[in-house]
Amino acid sequence: PPSCWLFCSPLLPSPLTPALSPHRCHPPPSALSTPPSPGEGGEFRKQRPRGTQQGHHLQRNMAGAGGGNDIQWCFSQVKGAVDDDVAEADIISTVEFNHSGELLATGDKGGRVVIFQQEQENKIQSHSRGEYNVYSTFQSHEPEFDYLKSLEIEEKINKIRWLPQKNAAQFLLSTNDKTIKLWKISERDKRPEGYNLKEEDGRYRDPTTVTTLRVPVFRPMDLMVEASPRRIFANAHTYHINSISINSDYETYLSADDLRINLWHLEITDRSFNIVDIKPANMEELTEVITAAEFHPNSCNTFVYSSSKGTIRLCDMRASALCDRHSKLFEEPEDPSNRSFFSEIISSISDVKFSHSGRYMMTRDYLSVKIWDLNMENRPVETYQVHEYLRSKLCSLYENDCIFDKFECCWNGSDSVVMTGSYNNFFRMFDRNTKRDITLEASRENNKPRTVLKPRKVCASGKRKKDEISVDSLDFNKKILHTAWHPKENIIAVATTNNLYIFQDKV
């Protein structure tokens, strides 16, 4: 497939692709069995974090029973409206740090993207890292109406993915259910003045009044951040897009909907290649959908997609144009003692994320987080229970639809800790090395800057201890679905319904 694009349109030099680049592809580690060596990767990799190069401070243990070298998480900032009346459009639907961690993007149900920028560290005030302040806000998607189906197309931003920075401008992909857009965010801090034919306010001068000529000069102006849509990738998805993922070649990306996955070139908007299609010939036979997809971080021909039946398929695009046959199928056999009518629903995978190293991938299903070694298909290497106390409440959660909530998960920069959200504005972190975990709450109460967060605990049954919360008191309307971890530092962004919380470790 890649060679076809050479015939479709010329590869113009652009901020995204260096001139005359062939489809740059690095050979994967053999059978994905060895971790990528630090030296691997070309010029595009310089800004990407690698597990082996993380600073020592990220190796510290998580706060568990307390003591010693545990990380202590502190409240840093909260963004968003204070009042409890949540406007539908303000509901945050995606959160993503860029590759350097300097920028933090959020998307909401109203189709807006808000980008925060980290302030440069104040060298004098070394006890705090830079704050995140609004850098740019723009309307990415508008509501549309599909006249054929008489249905609205929501403007809600499902995913944002940043491109690695190549020049002064920043680029990100944002998508709603049907359309992906490439946005360029650039700064303007000077403007030309002294035109001959125009006044300063833009009105054209009467040419007869021009008696002398001058050369316009650039003069400084207040910083302005502009966002402009550079590409619009539309009309390629019949079903709702749930994932976008940029390839490690930084030229192509995939978009996945419920039944199909398409491969795009960032330069080309009127063509995409369908690489996975699980739509049955007869829709009545439909029993499984695609829930998430992601490219391997280092191997540009490899991607995975997860399903509503709890399976993950790894595909190699070199094998065939249509990757309907997986190279690997990851599935854990069901525990017969836990079988119920809800078993399939809770096994449905809501998110899949490769580790930065590319050696592991993490999946999130309704009750747990699982870490898979790409070399072992028959079971995960680690399983972490997020809120096992909900297992006895599945029927109620089915009745109120909470069982269909799609929680995301994320890795820290060194792949040593994973994080995911839960209900009651709780979120959980699991340290893979120490096997300790912690539950924290995103709440405006008792949170002054640099206040250390108190670990929370849910009491599953029996007598509730002091400071514990019983399962029946949990607020199931307060769910944390979206979390993000700074690629290099211990800074996390946690989205409640309409607020964005930023926490960092105690410096």
Binding site: R271, V289, Y398, D401
Partner: protein, 242 residues
């Protein structure tokens, strides 16, 4: 709050509410009643997906799979059989067991009688109907949901109803507005047949594909062709601009 819909959830630790129940006079919700209630709830959920925005396909598939599982188990049990359709106005919600009853394990229920508690915490459900006699055969759930289908044999009718749900999901032909489009071949909604299926055929410009699509849309084949006319045939039809 446990429920987003405002149902007050009865606390699990209220054994003292059991008193007042005459022992043995009322049957306790059995596993099969629980299962039936779950089935009814699932079918209601599937029906409720006809909203202004396209329903979530993943959710619909998961619910439908749950319904199939229940159906399969009931078939194995031999409890799945045709039953006379109910009065037209009866909503399946009437048969829903209170959620906390439904979600309690069978073992827990053996010592309890939940009926007296129905009125308190479940204002939305019709009180007093939660506990059905154990001998009652499960009613075919689709009879009240798809009125006019009462003549269908329940098992085949059920499968057909499930299929209808997926046809509906694909083609959104329910309701009066959508009937305007009832004759339109559902494969029109499959844009891939028109667009990505044409990858590589660079002879025509980007606009001609859409024009061909539009011209084909003005003369839709009848709905009987829906299953006959495969996507490939349809795409070819558009390409040759018939």
């Amino acid at each position: 709050m446990m429920f987003a819909r405002g149902l007050k959830r009865k606390s699990a630790e209220e054994p003292e509410d059991v008193e007042g129940c005459s022992a043995g006079a009322q049957a306790m919700p059995s596993y099969s009643l629980q299962r039936q209630s779950l089935l009814d709830m699932s079918l209601v959920k599937l029906q409720l997906c006809h909203m202004l925005v396209e329903p979530n396909l993943c959710r619909s598939v998961l619910i439908a799979n749950t319904v199939r599982q229940i159906q399969e188990e009931m078939t194995r049990d031999g409890t799945w059989r045709a039953v006379a359709p109910q009065a037209a106005g009866r909503a399946p919600l009437d048969r829903l067991v209170a959620t906390d009853i439904l979600c309690r394990s069978v073992r827990e229920q053996e010592g309890e009688c939940p009926a007296p508690d129905m009125g308190d915490g479940q204002p939305d459900l019709v009180p007093g109907l939660a506990v059905a006699p154990a001998a009652q055969a499960p009613r075919s759930p689709q009879s009240s949901l798809w009125e006019g289908d009462s003549s269908r044999e329940s098992r085949g009718g059920f499968q057909k109803s499930l299929d209808q749900i997926f046809e509906t999901l694909e083609s959104k032909t329910s309701g009066s507005v959508e009937e305007l489009f009832a004759d339109v071949d559902s494969s029109y909604y499959d844009l891939d047949a028109v667009l990505t299926g044409m990858v590589g055929s660079t002879s025509s410009g980007p606009g001609s594909g859409l024009q061909a699509f539009a011209s084909a849309a003005t003369s839709p084949p009848s709905s009987s062709c829906r299953s006959d006319l495969g996507e490939l045939d349809h795409a070819v039809e558009i390409l040759v601009e018939t």
